[in-house]
């Protein structure tokens, strides 16, 4: 593998890691507040459909983005009502919402566009287009750093940089603000937060809403930046991979960045059978490469996580009086 190929793979790593990173941060807020969310997948899918549809109709990617966030927030609200207000099983609620979005996205897209459950292909202002970072071309001449800057770091859509910026922001919110402290406390020991006179349900709803916004960004990125339009089941398990990355990252923002970059790298490799074959020197069947990100996810969960301690009150509805 030469340097240029490596740069190409790193470039697609960053592109493919972005939806995972956004979904992983989404899960981070929810789970840190004690609400498990298997439904990241469904929220992303719904947001992808909504943003693809609205961007296609209005020709504005920003309206599409808003629609995506809105659609994702609706699902987040249902999840919140089921698991916070009515103290339902959070895993089951998430699974239900995933099925719901899997079906409804096709129903709505088919009704609106009649193209077999897809949205029309997007172009121009209906898509998030690559941004050239300053001095990318002038610095290209600098050995190693120049090409890395020009080919890997520069030339992505604005959502990629937003996702990267959200990592320190999430860290700051969680560890340096009063809201973050309370949010983490409500995931560890909700009774103590309640005793301090802060609403457990309010905090958890806030966390679930943040999850909704971030999943909306992830889904909109899928349909308007990574690809040009929504296709059925286009998230292809990314919501679940993001959950695995979250466990791998032990529910911490910076680790979430490294974990999702790793999973993005796996996905980038799966797209380049020629490179994989050149490195391992054996003919690799295509299905094996398709399965690679999932197999590696299992391996990571099985072997390399070490001791991952989830938030202590995760998955448990809070009952005020026992």
């Amino acid at each position: 593998m030469d340097f240029a190929t490596l740069l190409q793979i790193l470039d697609s790593t960053l592109r493919l890691a972005t939806p995972l990173l956004l979904a992983c941060l989404a899960g981070l807020f929810s789970e840190r507040a004690g609400i498990f969310d298997i439904g990241l997948e469904g929220k992303m899918l719904m947001a992808a459909m909504a943003s693809g549809a609205v961007a296609a109709l209005t020709g504005s990617v920003w309206l599409g983005l808003l629609a995506g966030i809105g659609a994702s927030l609706v699902l987040a609200a249902i999840h919140g009502i089921a698991s916070i207000t009515f103290r339902g099983n959070q895993l089951i609620s998430g699974v239900a919402l995933n099925f719901l979005s899997s079906g409804i996205t096709v129903l709505v897209a088919q009704r609106m566009f009649g193209q077999g459950g897809r949205t029309p292909p997007l172009s121009g202002a209906a898509r998030f287009n690559p941004i050239e970072l300053p001095f990318a071309e002038t610095l290209r001449a600098v050995p190693v750093i120049g090409p890395v800057y020009a080919d890997v770091i520069s030339g992505h859509s604005v959502l990629v940089y937003l996702a990267l910026a959200l990592v320190p922001l999430s860290w700051w919110v969680l560890y340096r603000t009063r809201f973050g402290l309370r949010l983490r406390a409500v995931g560890e020991n909700p009774a103590s937060v309640d005793t301090a006179g802060v609403s457990v349900a309010g905090l958890r709803f806030a966390a679930v809403a943040i999850t909704g916004v971030l999943c909306g960004l992830a889904g909109a990125y899928m349909a308007t930046a990574l690809q040009a339009g929504f296709g059925r089941e286009m998230t292809a398990g990314r919501g679940y991979i993001a959950l695995a990355a979250l466990i791998f990252a032990k529910w911490r923002p910076w680790s979430a960045l490294w974990a999702t970059l790793l999973f993005g790298f796996f996905q980038a490799l799966a797209l380049r059978p020629d490179v994989v074959e050149a490195v391992v020197r054996v003919k690799v069947p295509v299905p094996a490469l398709d399965a690679l990100p999932y197999v590696l996810t299992v391996l990571v969960l099985a072997g390399f996580v070490g001791k991952a301690i989830p938030p202590r009150a995760g998955g448990e509805p809070y009952v005020k009086e026992r």
Binding site: A82, A96, F99, L107, Y240
Partner: protein, 363 residues
């Protein structure tokens, strides 16, 4: 806290959840500009209006009984097995390997051997996530989902590169030999009075009914079943009582995976008579809805499986005769899981409130 009569808990709660799911589905249909009443009529007509329709409804119900029982058994041990889909696909591989291995002289022999193969492969596919959960603490929900994706890639590989006969274009195995053909319901004395034309429902239905009974016996009449339920209710208490968590997790998931695998007898051996891609067609996931709707009781699973058989066959008819996409089935499935599984407390609260009036009058 207000108490509800037991019959209300067993009958009314699932019934109301179902009605709520149906109501929201009707709203969805209205929103996409379709008539819910007309859709319902098409579904009832196509799924229950004829012996032919019933033949399909019961065929789907047979698969759903197996996958529903698979989820039920795991639920009782506090394990959420979302991997039924992958386990069923692997079960299909087991069936195909057994059926293609020998020129089977009679279907009874082939059935016994293929059932063994299906259960073995399904159980093996569940064993890895079970082991990882029990020994390494990997979350079984995520690992079983990952194994669904891995299973479908594995099946594609097996069908394209290994099992596909030379000269065949589509990725599938060869047809199974004639000796493996299972009798359909119209070929079984007694059933043939009702089913006069060929239907896909086959002798596997009887095995599925037997499986419901056996799982009931297992869960409520054996020591192992008691241990499974105790482990599911409270792991520390079960541990204190000398129940080995590793052993129970493994055994439960092996049974669960085996049941999901057994479903392939119905579709792969009984209907398609060769292994195709995506053979389970989502039945593994339907098992979750069936188990929740059936309140994790084999009798409930049986009834819920027939209900989802109706939904599936009715949904297929909708796809044929109307412009409603077949994905409506997935929407209804999601709504049923939402209302029976996650919003269960909401329905109970409503009912308790209603019953608080009646008890007040009696007192």
């Amino acid at each position: 806290m207000d108490q509800m009569p037991r019959w209300a808990d067993v009958v009314l709660v699932p019934l109301i959840s179902l009605l709520l799911a149906a109501f929201v589905s009707a709203l969805v249909l209205l929103a996409i500009g379709q008539s819910p009443v007309e859709a319902f009529n098409v579904m009832v007509d196509g799924a229950l209006g004829s012996a032919y329709g019933w033949g399909y409804t019961l065929y789907y119900a047979t698969s759903f009984m197996f996958t529903g029982l698979a989820v039920t058994v795991a639920f009782h041990a506090g394990l959420f097995n979302i991997g039924g889909e992958g386990q069923a696909q692997l079960g299909g591989l087991g069936v195909a390997l057994v059926c293609l291995a020998l020129p089977w002289p009679h279907w009874t022999l082939a059935l016994v051997a293929a059932s063994f193969g299906a259960a073995l492969f399904g159980a093996a596919w569940a064993a890895i996530p079970a082991y990882l959960q029990a020994r390494r603490g990997s979350h079984i929900v995520i690992t079983t989902i990952m194994f669904n994706y891995i299973a479908s890639a594995l099946i594609v590989y097996m069908l394209v590169d290994v099992l596909r006969p030379a000269g065949q274009m589509d990725p599938a195995t060869a047809r199974f030999p004639a000796g493996t053909k299972l009798p359909t319901l119209n070929e079984i004395p007694g059933f043939n009075l009702f089913f006069q034309k060929t239907v896909p429902a086959n002798v596997t239905l009887i095995i599925a009914l037997l499986a419901c009974w056996v799982i009931w016996l297992l869960l409520w009449r054996t020591r192992l079943g008691y241990q499974i339920r105790a482990f599911g209710k409270s792991e520390p208490a079960a541990r204190y009582a000398g129940i080995n968590p590793f052993r129970i997790t493994m055994i439960t998931m092996l049974i669960s995976g085996g049941l999901a695998g057994l479903m392939s007898i119905n579709n792969v051996m009984g209907e398609a008579e060769r292994l195709l891609q995506n053979s389970a067609e989502g039945a593994g996931f339907i098992g979750i809805a069936v188990a929740l709707m059936g309140r994790n009781h084999p009798l409930g699973v049986l009834l819920a499986a027939v209900l989802f058989g109706f939904l599936y066959q009715g949904g297929a008819e909708l796809g044929l005769w109307t412009s409603i996409p077949i994905e409506l089935r997935v929407v209804v499935q999601g709504l049923v899981i939402l209302f029976t599984g996650a919003l269960d407390h909401m329905v109970r609260m409503m009912l308790r409130w209603v019953f608080s009036f009646t008890t007040a009058k009696v007192a």
